[in-house]
Amino acid sequence: MMTLEKLREIKEKTRPILEDRLKKEGKTEIREDGSIVLKGDYYKKQVRIALRNCEIINPDSIDDYIALDGYSALGKVLFEMTPAEVIDVMMESNLRGRGGAGFPTGRKWNEAFKYDADKKYIICNADEGDPGAFMDRSILEGDPHSVLEGMAIAGYAVGADQGFIYVRAEYPLAVKTLKKAIEQAKEYGLLGKNIFGTDFSFDIELRLGAGAFVCGEGTALMESIEGKRGMPRVKIHRTAHKGLWGKPTIINNVETLANVPIIYQKGADWFRSIGTEKSPGTKVFALVGKVKESGLVEVPMGMTLREIVFDIGGGVADDRAIKAIQTGGPSGGCIPADLLDTPVDFESLAKIGSIMGSGGMVVMDETDCMVDIARFFLDFTVEESCGKCVPCREGTKRMLEILEKITEGNGEEGDIERLESLAETISSASLCGLGQTASNPVTSTLQYFRDEYIAHIRDKRCPAGSCQALLEYYITDACIGCTKCARNCPVSCISGKVKERHVIDTETCIKCGTCMEVCPVGAVITR
């Protein structure tokens, strides 16, 4: 059986060993307050709370986690606090859900706490379906116990004795790491019956998802755990009252749960001192796209997009001009470069037509076509719509068809209006968040980059030079008349005499790009 005494012994024994190892590796530094952080410019401006242990501890070692105060919050909560007090602290901290919607975790817990039932459940949402997102995965693979501890605390708070982690099967390492972590925690008596010798029992089981994006939606996820087809339920009851198998259920995101233990270690005031008033704490982003240093960054809420891209990410790759930042994945929007000074928090992003979402952040430069970006995300949504409700099932498909038409150069007058009308119907009439947010990539690009749509539709031109169908191959007067392009063109549509400038018959050209590749003087361009 685990006791507070034993926990301290393990910590005291393991901490020096861990520090030794870290010193040898040289990637970290130990601060005066005893906290261990990663070294380097990339990390300088970051504040790592959810990722506090990632790349520092050995994820397969529960002792490592304990060495850095792991499970001390659970001990504190069980011995010093009533469930109501645990919830009070959570409410005070104003930790908001990191899974996308930003709902206050304390309020959610309170709903389940107040609702009387013979059985309650805690679910950790580790479905992470946004393309390009990998923050939850990094936590699960790098610091699994922080999630387990967070779940156990949630369980104690609301009166649940069973937890499920719904993790996508495409994350085999996360699954393996979690399995091991659960086993170790059970062995130590930190999960299972009578934790720390108290009468609080809490067990955690894994459930593997099959990779449907919609199964990340809370109620679809519950259907899936119940063994049914993953389709969202109607919201006639709150899941905190009637969720999994009709019982009060708390569903929290991985990153949300990873924040939980440290809030009880350091207190709600400490947590509120980081970030902004309405969005306290930090957020992990997957910074990708045309940025010099891509990767996971964890920053205090309220940091501006500019700071994230330039001070942490080192600026735009190839020193091109930044055009936009896409946040929030397929449910998010494109933020134009002139709004780079927007602070990143739930409200500010929503105000400019995007969302925080789960933390995808894609940097785009002038070669990225905004219509094509919208098409890309719509393509994803159409693929992932569950097919239950009409606006999403039928409407997103029509939106995609129009976007495809536009990027292929067949856009017509009225397409923009059709897109806007569809967006309105889909977002206001869809059943779940997937449909309700599906048109954000379209509406935000229409809001900020309407000219690009118009250029595609009226002038049959792609200003970013990215839509293949709208490109025209053209030979400039740099041409030396070597005839190489004409000899290599598969459809023989280049004419010209030796040593004279050559010309492409654009009607016949199939846009294969061969001429551009073979031209020795770079005379072939696209326009």
Binding site: G395, K397, E401, R418, S428, A429
Partner: protein
């Protein structure tokens, strides 16, 4: 009781009702394509949208409960436009075959298209193009007419409890299918036809050889004659011919039937059907009157009882008789003929 204001008029309604239920109770029409009072709320078709004051989005009235002080609009321009847009999307992925469709005249999609003034969907693009499953003996499924309201799937699951069908694939490609898409014939389907009875469009249709239009038929309420359960049903009668059966929703069977009641009606107009008693004369059955037939039965019973005694009789009655008829039958055997040799097919 709570007070709600619907379209400007105040009503007192029960606390646990949905907006849809409240509206229907006070006689306000709201279009629905996926709702069925017998089933759990589902919220898929989005036709029942209404506006609730103070809300960000429109809400589906079938899945939203009334609250005290709620102000609801069921037919303002915003609501009507949203419903028309939803219908437009449905019609844009629908074969417009009303002219030859068996469901015409009894189709909710057709009715709403008429009501909301839509000739066709306005979005051109891909339409669902999947194979019809006509492997079942009694009915067929045309996925291209299916609007995926899910009523069939849920009736089969929640009421019929057979779970023969479900959804396959997702998004735009979703269809109703049997496990592993093996077809209805090879599935667990018991051909009860309860899915067919709830399909709001022509996607699930009985296989009928007789051509008829709904407006040519009249409904005749009757009791199913196949078993003692006594389900209530409406015969669809065209001229003097029964062309279909629909379950009664106001009977105790609550809109359900079994395969016999739903599909086994062709005997009614069958030429071989016995309508008069037959008596064998010189090795040939010939038509007789009931008077003649009863007389013959009575004389044979008397004769047999005199010569061989009451124990020579055995009576077997049918599950198609009602309780009362069965009671009378055993009474006849025990009290009149004088034997306990009486039994019932349901025991065999």
């Amino acid at each position: 009781m709570v007070q709600v204001t619907i379209n400007g008029i105040k009503y007192e309604v029960e606390k646990d009702k949905t907006i849809l239920q409240a509206c229907r109770e006070v006689g306000i029409e709201i279009p629905t394509l996926c709702h069925d009072e017998r089933l759990a709320p589902y919220g898929a078709c989005r036709m029942c949208l209404v506006e609730v004051e103070g809300g960000k989005n429109l809400v589906t009235s079938c899945t939203t409960k009334v609250r005290d002080g709620m102000v609801v609009y069921t037919n303002n321009p915003k609501v009507i436009n949203a419903r028309r847009d939803v219908l437009d999307l449905l019609l844009s992925n629908h074969p417009m075959e009303c002219l030859t469709c068996e469901k015409s005249g009894n189709c909710k999609l057709q009715d709403y298209a008429y009501e909301y003034g839509l000739v066709d969907g306005t979005y051109e693009g891909e339409k669902r193009n999947k194979e019809i499953d006509d492997s079942n003996h009694f009915y067929y499924y045309d996925p291209n007419k299916c609007i995926l309201c899910g009523l069939c799937v849920r009736v089969c699951d929640e009421l019929q409890c057979t779970n023969a069908i479900g959804f396959e694939d997702r998004g735009f490609n979703t269809i109703v299918a049997t496990p592993f898409n093996q077809g209805l014939e090879k599935s667990k389907c018991v051909s009860c036809g309860n899915c067919v009875s709830v399909c709001p469009v022509g996607a699930l249709q009985p296989k009928t050889k007789v051509k008829f239009r709904y407006w040519e038929t009249k409904k005749v309420r009757t009791t199913c004659s196949y078993c003692g359960v006594g389900c209530q049903m409406d015969l669809l009668v065209k001229g003097n011919q029964v062309v279909g059966v629909e379950p009664a929703f106001d009977g105790f069977n609550n809109g359900l039937l079994c395969v016999k009641g739903k599909f086994g009606y062709k005997f009614i107009n069958h030429p071989d059907r016995l309508k008069k008693p037959l008596i064998k004369k010189d090795g040939e059955f010939v038509e007789a009157t009931w008077e003649e037939a009863y007389r013959l039965i009575v004389s044979k019973i008397k004769e047999t009882k005199e010569n061989y005694g009451a124990e020579a009789f055995g009576g077997l009655t049918s599950a198609r008789c009602t309780n009362e008829e069965n009671y009378l039958f055993q009474k006849l055997f025990r009290a009149v003929i004088g034997t306990n040799n009486v039994d019932h097919c349901a025991r065999l």
